[in-house]
Symmetry: C2
Subunit: 575 residues, 2 copies
């Protein structure tokens, strides 16, 4: 029974598959058609963004979707190539191999494989908590900076020039130096695509409804917008012979499904790609789970983050095995899938069939597709990633968080994606570590006429010259104990009249071995200085553990049940 | 005035120097003589342990002591070469250069320089908190393992063989393979030294007092024990011509003070040594501050840890500049200094003069000193580092802490000092990070007949089907927010009857930008699931900051002053 339940929990498909019906199949089918139409140009475009041949984007949209359907806990997440991960793939891969070579493709495939292994490992060992150390400001800063970087990197395709470099300054210099090589037909195709895509996305729906179309039909037309622009520009390029006038086209795309093979990865390559693979895994996971949770809540469904790691791991390994590159759950695509009425992950599997059919039959039609059109698709898609409002909100709310965010944005733009995210994480970490080393505590005194004790800085309370009472508001452990020790030595040894130190522990849930040694040392050192150390209001479980040690025997003072008892016994309020 | 105070705080010598008297000078002088007598053989021995010529140990005991006297906040800490740091120096240096070469000496000097820079940097930027991440179990395990490793490494000098390797297995294999080369005269000298040193340390004092000597005089004789053994074995070696019979002797030690020069360190060398230098700095600092605090408390004096970083940094740079190797505050030596009546750091400066005189006039007398005697001095000194009791105590108190300790001990012995300490720190860190990602919280219910709310798991309380109340016992920030979110989705979305979630926040002192976004997302997602989110008992300062955001406007529910008000308003106790 228990085994059965854990098998079910490892294969969520068993749960929803059991009650799958024709009705659900019909709903999933409709969603799959809509997502497929949206995914074809996106797959091609994101593969181009990653510096890879267009078919690699299609391959990454077949097998991974089927694996996610088997392992994923989200009913509506749409997995596949996404913009930010494509950018990260381009950066990491270009550091190892020259774009356009076989080595480049092999490196990107290895990256998907490694990042799949990382995800799987984290899922199996329940290490998803590692992703918690990517704070919101760091992620949000990173996504915004990536959006800008991606949009800017696509300008070269719109202008028809060849730029080099990954950072904003490198790309700008390279672009400016080639302004005289701009190809006018390419600029026309590119700009027209941008204007069309932008108009369809923002004005088409209202216009169609005004013209008498139903809201749902109008919606469908809007979603087919990118594929219409693809068709339009491809046909124009063919008819006007624009390829001969300098417009770069996609060219021959191999027909047929990808072959399956486990990529061979040398230890050196794995070592070189490890950091990038880990970052891609974490960023992909965080973004994907966030989308999945947002959509799941709308239908009161639940997401299991550790199982999501397994599902994304399996998807990435599947992508690598079938000649694809790193994938994750995409935001826009998942929302479309959800809105189109997908009820189970079967919609994803059906989408995979749609893409497989496209790979089998449609690729010859892509020959004259201009790269400028794909670039326009990317630009319109990623501009939604760039958000100024969270930057302002973070600045207003917390300067500490803002500094981590600003470091992430600036370094991502100026040095690169990995440097940006590393700077943000390290800065959050240092700020966080610094804070964890300072435990919350307060010197307290008696509220006159009561048995309550409050912070001497905030309340008008009675204190005694011979008695120092510290209320500790947190568990004590290796990282924060030394700060407390130093503070108490400062306070107690600095005032010659003090004879007793009472540690009031109502909020101490745990004392680790380091903190215990710290307390023991403090007891001895205070004793050497002629000061007695007491405890008060120690919680039951903490007291139980202390009783297994010799600490309570060595304690120079007493353990009081209430701070008021300690006060009555020890205080000498005469000033 | 403020400037003056900060100058005084940077140069503690100004404070104690102002009231320095003849009486204090006399007391410091006596202590200095005793420490000098103890330090001469120790300096030679620890230099040998570090694989360096004996004079390097003396050089490291002159200038560093003077710099510490200027910058240190401890009145009685005795700085100089110590066993554990010597071992770490040997390991780090041997990884770069072959022992006995000029390159080896230059590398050890560079290590002192780098570790001085690290300490100074941490002191100036008040980064001493970094050392808090070395937990007690890791440090104590590391010291014990180092003691064993050091004692074992000296056996070769007692046996008169040449072994290679740094780890316990390497050394054992190497020693066993050379057992037929053991030199009998060396074994006799070495064993006799060990027996003598051990007897003097443990039995001499009682015997002398029994024989009618005063306790203080007896104590002095015991402290002079190592130097007496040095004289005895040196004289024996000379008279019996043992050097010709295979006893390895110290040989010619250069006479005169060291020349001063800033060591030239290439960027490559600095990069290779950085990790080792950082570890040496941190271990040295932690041990030194611990000794300093123990002694300071006995006289109700105060230690400023960040200033100690500066003082130890200056001492190490001084050591490097004067041809010495890494130094720190030594435990045994500082206790002797304290017991001998040192009242100010001037005692350290006077000790430096004593060692300088020895360097000028005594080095020719060291020619026939057998290395086996120095090895015996080291073995007797480091065996006090090996403590089994803390290992047992940690095992009893916390399995989590014990696992970090055991990893440190095993890896230090089997792989090396750096691997050992790294494993311990990483393991403590992972355990710590994992814990920080899980905030303390409890589902609470109403204690019948009161207005109090308590944990439903521990108390018999009233709950309501339509209401989930979570008491959060900790501040919310990026590392722990996601866990809370996931938990609440699990709890709230899993029970179809729940209509309200109340977050009870009496212990939430801070909400960072990530946690705020988490709360916002939770509010929206619960809303999508038809659940209203409320807060109760929010602290004043937290409320003030929330009011600067749009969170409270968007909140689907209310903010209640007390949880009881929330209960009266929302609960539907009919089951």
């Amino acid at each position: 029974m228990k085994l059965l339940r854990s098998i079910e929990s490892a294969f969520p498909i068993i749960e929803w598959g059991r009650t799958y019906s024709k009705q659900m199949f019909a709903e999933d089918g409709v969603a799959a058609v809509i997502v497929t139409i949206m995914l074809i140009p996106q797959s091609l475009a994101y593969a181009m963004l990653a510096g890879l041949p267009p078919e690699v984007g299609l391959y990454a949209s077949i097998l991974p979707l089927i694996l996610y359907a088997v392992f994923g806990t989200s009913r509506t997440l749409a997995v596949g190539p996404v913009a930010v991960v494509s950018l990260m793939t381009a950066t990491a891969t270009a550091a190892i191999a020259a774009p356009g070579t076989i080595g480049y493709l092999e490196t990107a495939i290895a990256l998907a494989f490694l990042s799949g292994l990382f995800l799987l490992f984290m899922g199996v060992f329940r290490l998803g908590f590692i992703a918690n150390f990517l704070s919101h400001p760091v992620i949000s800063g990173f996504i915004t900076a990536s959006g800008l970087l991606i949009a800017f990197s696509q300008l070269k395709h719109i202008l028809g020039v060849q730029t080099t470099g990954h950072t904003l300054p490198e790309q700008t210099v390279s672009m400016v130096s080639q302004l005289d090589l701009v190809n006018i037909p390419t600029v026309i195709i590119g700009s027209a695509s941008i204007v069309l895509l932008f108009s369809i996305r923002n004005y088409m729906k209202a216009a169609l409804i005004k013209a008498g179309l139903g809201a749902r039909a109008a919606d469908l037309v809007v979603k087919a917008g990118p594929i219409m622009v693809v068709v339009l520009t491809t046909v124009s390029t063919y008819f006007f012979g624009l390829a001969d006038k300098g417009v770069t086209i996609v060219g021959a795309v191999p027909t047929g499904l990808p072959g399956l093979s486990v990529p061979g990865i040398s230890f050196d390559l794995a070592a070189d790609l490890a950091a990038a693979a880990l970052l891609i895994s974490l960023i992909g996971f965080v973004e994907s789970v966030s989308v999945a949770q947002t959509l799941a809540a709308k239908r009161r469904q639940r997401i299991r983050p550790n199982q999501e790691l397994v599902a994304l791991g399996a998807s990435n390994i599947a992508s690598a095995v079938s000649g694809g590159y790193p994938v994750t759950g995409g935001f826009a695509r998942s929302v479309v899938n959800f809105d189109a009425g997908a009820v189970t992950p079967a919609a994803g599997a059906l989408t995979a069939i749609g893409i497989a059919l496209a790979t089998l039959f449609l690729t010859p039609l892509l020959y004259f597709l201009p790269k400028a059109t794909l670039a326009a698709t990317i630009i319109i898609a990623v501009l939604t990633l760039v958000k100024v409002e969270p930057i302002i909100a973070t600045w207003r709310y917390s300067k500490r968080d803002f500094s981590a965010m600003a470091a992430t944005i600036l370094l991502t733009l100026l040095v690169g994606v990995e440097a940006g995210i590393a700077a943000g994480v390290i800065l959050s970490f240092v700020l966080f570590m610094h804070r964890t080393t300072i435990p919350h505590f307060a010197i307290v005194g008696l509220v006159p006429g009561t048995e309550h004790f409050r912070n001497v800085l905030r309340h008008d309370v009675e204190t005694a010259d011979n008695l120092l009472t510290i209320r500790i508001d947190e568990s004590l452990y290796f990282a924060n104990m030394r700060f407390l020790e130093d503070k108490i030595y400062d306070l107690a040894l600095g005032c010659p009249k003090i004879r007793h130190v009472v540690l009031m522990c109502p909020a101490v849930n745990n004392i680790d071995a380091s903190a215990l040694e710290g307390l023991e040392a403090m007891n001895h050192r205070l004793q050497d200085a002629g000061i007695t150390m007491h405890l008060s209001e120690v919680k039951g479980p903490v007291m139980d553990r202390l009783q297994t040690t010799s600490f309570l025997d060595d304690l120079t003072g007493d353990v009081f049940l209430s701070q008021y008892q300690a006060w009555k016994m020890l205080a000498n309020p005469a000033k």
